[in-house]
């Protein structure tokens, strides 16, 4: 059912954990639908210096979280925001049809974090 890459990311996820005093946090999903993903960002000079995730979800959701963090890490915000669901699926060697929706979870959580980051930054400016 799952590709080897999905299983590897699921078994040994990259960047799993939290960042203390992060520059931004984003979260999507809820326990009722089964999946929750939270990302923590450390941003310097508009570059994602560090990213960590916490996910409550299935093997695909955890693997997606892991790959997302790999894909955006050390990228500029503009570059990182270009990462999309298809790229995540490709990186995972494919996802079973009923799991494709899980790939959105990663991107949405990341976008939510960036959103929060920018809101915060604007608030500080004002």
């Amino acid at each position: 059912m799952y590709s080897k890459k999905v299983i590897n990311h699921f078994k040994n996820p990259h960047n799993q954990g939290i960042i203390k005093n992060p520059d931004a946090v984003g979260q999507v999903g809820n326990p009722v639908c089964g999946d929750v993903m939270r990302v923590y960002l450390r941003i310097k000079d508009d570059i994602i210096k560090n990213i960590k995730f916490e996910t409550l979800g299935c093997a695909a959701a955890i693997a997606v979280s892991s790959v997302l963090t790999d894909l955006v890490k050390n990228k500029t915000l503009t570059e990182a925001l270009k990462v999309n669901n298809n790229e995540i699926i490709k990186e995972l060697g494919g996802l079973p049809a009923q799991k494709v929706h899980c790939s959105a979870l990663g991107v949405e959580a990341f976008k939510d974090a960036i959103n929060n980051y920018q809101k915060n930054k604007n608030a500080q400016k004002n």
Binding site: I7, E54, T55, A59
Partner: protein
């Protein structure tokens, strides 16, 4: 070289390995004795003899007569035939009356989906709620019965949490209701009372019960009973429906008039022979001993898991369930993730989480029991079988806690 892990199978309610004796009983009927049981020549008669003997053995187990057993492709087909076949016949006979049927919210999809279809056909449908332990409330049942109720279908043992339904009690109740209906009708003057009143027919899906409980149809007071081969150490693709003599049933699958014109289709002779052999192996003493062992191992699993893993919820009611079920929820972890990690460790289980289902919905059985969705998503079902050993259960007790902990640590607080 890496040592190959010994696999542990704890999903016996999904399927069971075929018993060696069953397999060897079946084998001749694939080649040497391959005849079509409907053929008149010697090959056919040889096959028919095997089918007849099998039917006799099965009838004996259920304490019914030979002609009351209809072979099908499994329990799903048996359920479909029972539900659609009976309602089709009743509609044919009572075209004017609006029929009312009852089932429960924890039935297998092979019953719930046909009931949904009946609703679309204009049949009045009541779906009974269950108590928090997954058992139908008899009082709720009594309240649901109406004058136009003609059919009740309730499973014997639930396939997710293992809860045992009060089939015998409800069967007796239905018998009483039928007697009252008949007496009432008898009191009406002959000239004006018309045809005999509508009776309630009672069907049970006994698929998960055969291994453990009394399935004597007279004891249960059922008119129809479904079961399949592969849950009882027999082959897949074969099952049967018991239909009491006198119960109206129209064929759903039309063709060559097999099975007394109730179910057309060439008889699956090897499957039928295997089904009967599996049934024949239910020696009372051996079963009792095996079930005691299974119950003891389940007790060990439940006690240890609850003790070791904090905030574990046991969804199976130990006092009112088949002895092989242990259904847990582990808070703040998603069931499919647990399943995959257990599978990678060589342990096969199942889950009621939406993430493992094709429709991406949490198990309707768990929700019907009043279990919250987030808790249903965290569920894992262990079902033990006659080959389960203490060493296997101990292995699970060692492997599961760190898996839960690992996943809990990954989840947001």
């Amino acid at each position: 070289m890496r040592k190959k892990i010994k696999k542990i199978y704890l999903d016996y309610s999904a399927s069971t390995p075929i018993d060696k004796k069953v397999l060897s009983a079946m084998l001749p009927y694939f080649n040497n004795k391959f005849g079509n049981a409907s053929s008149v020549h010697g090959f056919g008669q040889e096959a028919l003899k095997a089918v007849d003997e099998s039917r006799q053995k099965i009838a004996q187990f259920f304490n019914c007569s030979f002609q009351e057993i209809i072979f099908t492709s499994g329990a799903t087909e048996a359920n479909n035939l029972a539900i659609f076949g009976l309602i089709k016949a009743l509609k044919r006979k009572n075209s004017k009356s609006k029929l009312h049927v009852i089932t429960s919210s924890i039935e297998h999809q092979a019953v719930l989906e046909p009931f949904n279809a009946l609703k679309e056909q204009g049949v009045e449908v009541t779906i009974l709620p269950v108590k928090s332990n997954g058992v139908v409330d008899i009082e709720e049942f009594k309240r649901a019965v109406k004058d136009n109720t003609v059919f009740v279908s309730l499973m014997y043992v639930n396939n997710e949490v293992g809860s045992v339904q009060p089939i015998c009690e409800i069967g007796k109740l239905i018998q009483k209701i039928n007697e009252i209906r008949f007496k009432k009708w008898q009191k009406i003057e002959k000239e004006i009372r018309g045809d005999k009143p509508l009776m309630i027919y009672f069907h049970t899906d006994a698929t998960q019960a055969i291994n453990f409980f009394n399935c004597d149809v007279k004891h249960l007071h059922v008119d129809l009973l479904s079961f399949s081969g592969h849950k009882i150490y027999g082959p897949k693709g074969v099952g049967a429906l018991f239909v009491k003599t006198g119960v109206l049933l129209d064929a759903i699958q039309l063709g060559g008039h097999h099975e007394n014109n109730k179910r057309s289709g060439t008889l699956n002779v090897p499957g039928i022979v295997g089904l009967a052999k599996a049934i024949e192996l239910f020696d009372k003493k051996i079963i009792e001993k095996s079930n005691k062992k299974i119950a003891k191992l389940r007790q060990l699993l439940v006690e240890k898991i609850i003790k070791i893993i904090p905030n574990t919820i046991l969804n199976t009611d130990i006092n009112q369930s088949a002895p092989n079920f242990a259904h847990f929820s582990f808070l703040r972890v998603e069931g499919e993730a647990i399943l995959i990690l257990l599978d990678l460790a060589g342990i096969a289980v199942s889950t009621g989480s939406a993430c493992a289902s094709n429709n991406l919905k949490a198990s309707s059985v768990l929700l019907a029991m009043g279990i919250k969705e987030e808790i249903a998503h965290s569920s894992i079902r262990f079902t033990l079988g006659k080959q389960t050993t203490e060493a296997e259960i101990k292995q699970v007790i060692a492997i599961l806690p760190p898996i839960i902990e690992k996943l809990q640590n990954m989840a947001p607080q």
